[in-house]
């Protein structure tokens, strides 16, 4: 009895005019509204009450350093040496972006990346900066930088000898996020500086710093939650389409509907695009 009540939602039969009820326009619209609603709720919660949702980035400065150096080693370049002074300037840059609520190399107050190098007293002959936000993992982050010619140029620039990295959590534009700042440099006179230069495998990388976070409690990233909702609704639709298509073929039904094969192909195309879209933003 119960089986008969819900089966028409998934299986084409006479009762639903040989089309799974969930694929009828009304339910497609319902799926659409449900999706938009879930996204709006997540966004509203993030903005209205930043304490409810948070960030769960797996990125650490150590991982960024390792992968940056891996990219250099792959190209036969010398790995960069970790410099805690450069990390301090990177951290100050990230904090400045959170405090003054901007996302750019130059601040609205006119501070350039070089301002932060100078503030911490790093004298350089050449220097550079890479920025990123909203990434979940280091792999995707470094991949995104390597796919961008200007960021890649910094990572594989043979003129740079040292690097500092900051991974800082805070609130930017009312949304909690993780900022990653890389500061590259070559000291003007290396020996004159009091820097702690160590090999990448035994350094003490600074821990992630919360700038505006109220607690150290690990919260769920709104991006992750949004992704979970997307996946559930998307997979549900695809499953219903597959069941509908399979039953139609099996029972050799001819009906007045759109092409199930066409719909599956189109949604699969969208799925691939989503899969290949890069996470977060780089600057």
């Amino acid at each position: 009895m119960f089986k008969k009540n819900w089966i028409h939602y998934f299986i084409p039969q006479e009762k639903n005019n040989h089309r799974a009820t969930l694929l009828k326009p009304f339910f497609l619209l319902f799926f659409l509204v449900l999706y938009l609603l879930s996204q709006s709720i997540i966004k509203s919660l993030t903005i209205a009450n930043p304490g409810i949702l948070g960030y769960s980035s797996e990125i650490t400065a150590q991982k960024v350093l390792d992968q940056t150096n891996n990219e250099r080693i792959k190209l036969g370049l010398e790995p960069l040496t970790y410099n805690s002074v450069l990390s301090e300037s990177a951290k100050e840059k990230a904090e400045d972006m959170f405090v003054n609520n901007y996302w750019a190399h130059n601040s609205p107050q006119g501070k350039t990346p070089w301002t932060f190098f100078n503030t911490v007293g790093y004298k350089y002959s050449t220097a550079g900066e890479n920025l990123a936000k909203d990434f979940y993992d280091t792999d995707s982050l470094v991949k995104a930088w390597m796919n961008s010619p200007t960021h890649k140029e910094n990572i594989i620039n043979n003129k740079y000898k040292e690097i500092g990295i900051a991974v800082v959590n805070g609130t930017l534009g009312d949304i909690k996020t993780t900022l990653v700042v890389q500061h590259f440099g070559t000291p003007l006179i290396a020996t004159a500086q009091e820097i702690i230069s160590q090999k990448s495998d035994d350094i003490a990388v600074p821990a992630t710093v919360d700038v505006l976070a109220e607690s150290d409690e690990k919260l769920i990233s709104p991006l992750t939650l949004s992704k979970i909702f997307s996946s559930i609704i998307f997979i549900a639709l695809m499953v219903v389409l597959f069941i509908d298509g399979f039953t139609t073929i099996k029972n050799n039904i001819h009906r007045l509907t759109g092409s199930t094969v066409g719909h599956i192909s189109f949604l699969f195309f969208i799925f691939l695009i989503m899969l290949f879209n890069q996470q977060g933003s780089i600057f």
């Binding site: 992704k227 199930t260 719909h263 695009i273």
Partner: protein, 89 residues
Amino acid sequence: MIIPKEIKQKPVEYIILLLIFIFGFFLYIFINNSQAKILILSGVVLSYLVWSLYHHQKRGDLHTSIIIEYLLIILFGLVFLLFDPFAIF
């Protein structure tokens, strides 16, 4: 391997559809410009709509309900891309 009857009847139409998606996908991932990516997506979506109109016109069952179904599926896909946290928009 089960091949749907509709593909067996009109194989060329489905090959064209497949080529639209494959070509669109590779163009999308190999071009770095965001505006170009949006143009490519628009092109694929429009092609899918034109394909569906032609496909059902030929089958003799081009009805408003079918057009609405295609529009909703397209809207569905686009909304997913638009709100996807990894999306380009």
